[in-house]
C-alpha cells in the first residue's frame, strides 16, 4: 500500500500550493475546514486508543523481563520491579522445546507457502490464459472452494489423514493447507490483468505454455507471488486447530500448539509464560516489520480472516 508515500508527497504538494494541480487518484485527506478543534480531539482520541492497544503487548514484555517469583505476586509487584532479568528467556532458549516448535513451524510454513505459490499460480495460469474443455467446471469449483470453511472440515480431514497414515508427520499440517483457493483466485485476477501482447510475442517465437509461464508471466508476477507466499506463511504459522489435532507427538509441535501447552505446564510461572509468548510471536513480528507493506497489501487484498 502506498499510503505513506502518497500522503507524504501530497503534503509536499499542499505546501507548494499545487495540490489542486494533480487531480489524479490519490489518498483522500480531509479538508481542514472548521476543523482545528476537531482535529485536536481526533488526535487525542486516537492516541488514547493506540496506547490502550499497545498496553497488553507492553505488559507481556515487561512481565517476561521480571523474575517468576516477582510476577507470581501480581500486577503491583511487576509494576514496581526495577530489576529486569533475562532468566526466563535464557531458561527457554536453553531448553529444547522451543527450538523444536520453531523448527516445526518453520518447516511447515515454508513448505506450505512454496507449494501454494507454485501449484496455485500454475493452475491460475491455465484458468486465466488457456482455453480447454472443462474450464467452466474448474471455474465453478474454484468459486465454490472460496466459500468452504476449512476449519470446519477438521473431523473429515483428520479421518482422511488417519486412513493414509499421515498423522503425526509435518505433511499432515502442510498438505491440507496447500489447497488455498484464495491464492488461486488472487493469482487468476492478477494474470487476467497482464497485457496479452507480451505472451503473444513469445508465442510467435515458438514458446511453449510452460515457457511462457516460467519466463514471461512469473517474472511479471513477483509482487503478487511474494504477497501470497507471505500471507500463506503467516496463516500456516498461526494455524492452531489443524496441528493441534493431527500432531500428538510433542517433538513435532508447532509454535501455537506448543504455546497451548505452556499454560498447563508452567502454571504460576508467569514470567516464563510471557517470555514464551514473546519468543513465539517474535519471528512473525520481525517478518511483519520487514514486509509490512506486502503483508498489509496481501491481507487487505485477499480478505483472509483469522
Amino acid at each position: 500500500m502506498a499510503t505513506t508515500d502518497a500522503t507524504g508527497s501530497q503534503a509536499r504538494n499542499r505546501r507548494n500550493g499545487v495540490s489542486a494541480a494533480a487531480p489524479a487518484a490519490r489518498p483522500s485527506r480531509v479538508a481542514t475546514n472548521g476543523g482545528k478543534a476537531f482535529n485536536r480531539i481526533t488526535a487525542v482520541v486516537l492516541v488514547v486508543f493506540a496506547v490502550i492497544w499497545l498496553l497488553p503487548s507492553l505488559w507481556a514484555i515487561k512481565t517476561s523481563f521480571t523474575s517468576n517469583a516477582v510476577s507470581a505476586l501480581g500486577t503491583q509487584a511487576i509494576l514496581e520491579d526495577v530489576n529486569p532479568t533475562l532468566a526466563s528467556y535464557s531458561a527457554l532458549l536453553g531448553g529444547g522445546d522451543l527450538w523444536n516448535w520453531y523448527l516445526a513451524s518453520f518447516i511447515t510454513s515454508t513448505l506450505s507457502a512454496l507449494l501454494v505459490v507454485v501449484f496455485a499460480s500454475m493452475a491460475a495460469f491455465a484458468i486465466s490464459r488457456m482455453r480447454f474443455r472443462g474450464r467452466n467446471v474448474v471455474f465453478v469449483l474454484m468459486l465454490a472452494g472460496i466459500m468452504v470453511p476449512a476449519d470446519v472440515l477438521i473431523i473429515p480431514i483428520f479421518q482422511m489423514l488417519n486412513t493414509v497414515g499421515l498423522l503425526n508427520t509435518y505433511w499432515a499440517v502442510i498438505f491440507p493447507q496447500v489447497s488455498s483457493v484464495i491464492a488461486l483466485f488472487v493469482f487468476k485476477q492478477f494474470f487476467d490483468g497482464l497485457p496479452k501482447e507480451l505472451e503473444e510475442a513469445a508465442r510467435l517465437d515458438g514458446a511453449s505454455n510452460w515457457r511462457i509461464y516460467r519466463s514471461v508471466v512469473m517474472p511479471l508476477s513477483r509482487p503478487v507471488l511474494s504477497a501470497m507466499a507471505i500471507v500463506t506463511f503467516v496463516g500456516v504459522w498461526n494455524n492452531l486447530i489443524l496441528p493441534l489435532f493431527v500432531l500428538s507427538n510433542p517433538d513435532l509441535m508447532t509454535i501455537p500448539v506448543g504455546l497451548a501447552t505452556v499454560q498447563g505446564s508452567f502454571g504460576q510461572r508467569f514470567s516464563d509464560i510471557q517470555a514464551s509468548t514473546i519468543l513465539g510471536a517474535l519471528p512473525l513480528v520481525i517478518l511483519f516489520l520487514i514486509f509490512q507493506r506486502r503483508i498489509v497489501e496481501g491481507v487487505a487484498g485477499t480478505g483472509l480472516k483469522g
Binding site: 475546514n33 480447454f132 472452494g145 473431523i155 482422511m160 496447500v178 504459522w237 492452531l240 511483519f288
Partner: protein, 313 residues
C-alpha cells in the same frame, strides 16, 4: 474428478470453433498445469466436504475403521434434541453478537481518525495491526494473564477504580465470553482497520473539498460523505466478521476450553469435543455439516453482495 475424465479423452476436442481453441496439445497441457493444485483441492477440500456429509449418516467412531453402520438421520435427530448442541450454537451467536458490532464500529472510527492525521501512519498501523499477525496462542496467553483473578492487570485496574473484590472475568460463567470477546477485538481489529483505510484511500479528495466549500463541518463530512462512500467496505467487513465469528475456536480453546462448565463452548469447540474426546465421529460430522451450511450461507451472501456492488459501481 473431471480432471481425469477430460484429460483421458483429448481426441474429442474437435469443435466447430476450432480456430478459437489452441491445438490438442494445449488441452492436455492445461490439465497438467491444473493437476497438482486439483489434487490437493480434491483431497483436502472437496473430498472432506463430501465425506463429512456422507459420514453424518453413519455411526463412525475413531476406535474402529471405516464409516460404521448406516443409521440414517439419527445423528441429526440426536443433535437436535441435545442441550449441548443448542447451547454451543447459542454461545457461537453470543460471541458473534459481542464481537461484530465493536469490531466494525471501532475499526471504522480508528481508520477515519487515522486517515485525518497528517503524520504517524506507520505508527497507527503498527499499534492497531500488529496484534492481528500474532498467533492466537500468543494473544490468548497474554489475555489469560491480564485476566488472572485478583492479582491480574484487569482486576488491579478494577481495584484502582474502586472495586473491592473484582469478579474473575474468565472464571465467571456470565463474564467469560466477554473476556474472550475483548481479547478477540484487541486481536483482530487491525484487519478491519486496514480494509477501512484502503477504502478511505479510494474516496476522491475533491468530494471533501466540495463539501468544505459548501460549509460542511468535519462531522457532517463524515456522516454524509465518508459513511456512504464506505458502505461497500462496511458490507465486506461485516460479512467477513460474521463468518470469522461463526468459526470461533482458538481463543475459546486456549482461554477457557469452553468453561467454566460449558458456558463458553462454541460450535466448533463442541464439534471437536464430540469427535476427538467422545470419539463419536458420525455425530461430529453431522454437527460439522450443520455449521458448514450456516457458514456457506453467509459466504454466498458475501459473494452475491460483492457481485451486486461490482455491477453497481
Amino acid at each position: 474428478m473431471s480432471a481425469h475424465t477430460v484429460g483421458a479423452q483429448p481426441a474429442v476436442a474437435t469443435t466447430p470453433r476450432a480456430d478459437a481453441r489452441p491445438p490438442l496439445r494445449g488441452q492436455r497441457t492445461a490439465w497438467l498445469f491444473i493437476a497438482p493444485f486439483a489434487f490437493f483441492y480434491l483431497c483436502f477440500l472437496l473430498g472432506p466436504s463430501v465425506y463429512m456429509f456422507v459420514a453424518s449418516f453413519f455411526d463412525a467412531s475413531i476406535v474402529k475403521n471405516g464409516l460404521g453402520n448406516f443409521i440414517g438421520l439419527e445423528n441429526y435427530s440426536t443433535l437436535v434434541q441435545s442441550r449441548d448442541f443448542w447451547s454451543s450454537m447459542w454461545h457461537t451467536l453470543q460471541f458473534t453478537l459481542y464481537t461484530v458490532p465493536p469490531l466494525v464500529i471501532l475499526s471504522f472510527v480508528f481508520a477515519v481518525l487515522a486517515n485525518r492525521m497528517p503524520r504517524g501512519q506507520t505508527f497507527w498501523r503498527l499499534a492497531f495491526f500488529t496484534p492481528f499477525i500474532l498467533p492466537s496462542a500468543a494473544i490468548s496467553l497474554i489475555w489469560v494473564f491480564i485476566f488472572t483473578a485478583d492479582t491480574g492487570l484487569w482486576a488491579t485496574a478494577q481495584k484502582w477504580l474502586g472495586s473491592d473484590a473484582p469478579t474473575p472475568v474468565l472464571g465467571t460463567p456470565s463474564l467469560a465470553m466477554v473476556g474472550i470477546a475483548i481479547a478477540t477485538i484487541w486481536w483482530t481489529i487491525g484487519f478491519n482497520f486496514i480494509l477501512y483505510l484502503a477504502g478511505l484511500q479510494d474516496i476522491p479528495r475533491e468530494l471533501y473539498e466540495a463539501a468544505a466549500i459548501d460549509g460542511a463541518t468535519p462531522w457532517q463530512q463524515i456522516r454524509h460523505l465518508t459513511i456512504p462512500m464506505l458502505s461497500r467496505t462496511t458490507t465486506l467487513v461485516l460479512l467477513l466478521q460474521i463468518i470469522a465469528s461463526l468459526k470461533i475456536f482458538d481463543q475459546v480453546y486456549l482461554m477457557t476450553s469452553g468453561g467454566p462448565g460449558t458456558s463458553t463452548e462454541t460450535a466448533l469447540v463442541f464439534i471437536t469435543k464430540v469427535g476427538f474426546t467422545d470419539y463419536r465421529l458420525g455425530a461430529a460430522a453431522a454437527a460439522s455439516f450443520m455449521l458448514f451450511v450456516v457458514i456457506v450461507v453467509f459466504a454466498v451472501i458475501r459473494q452475491v453482495a460483492e457481485r451486486a456492488q461490482q455491477k453497481g459501481a
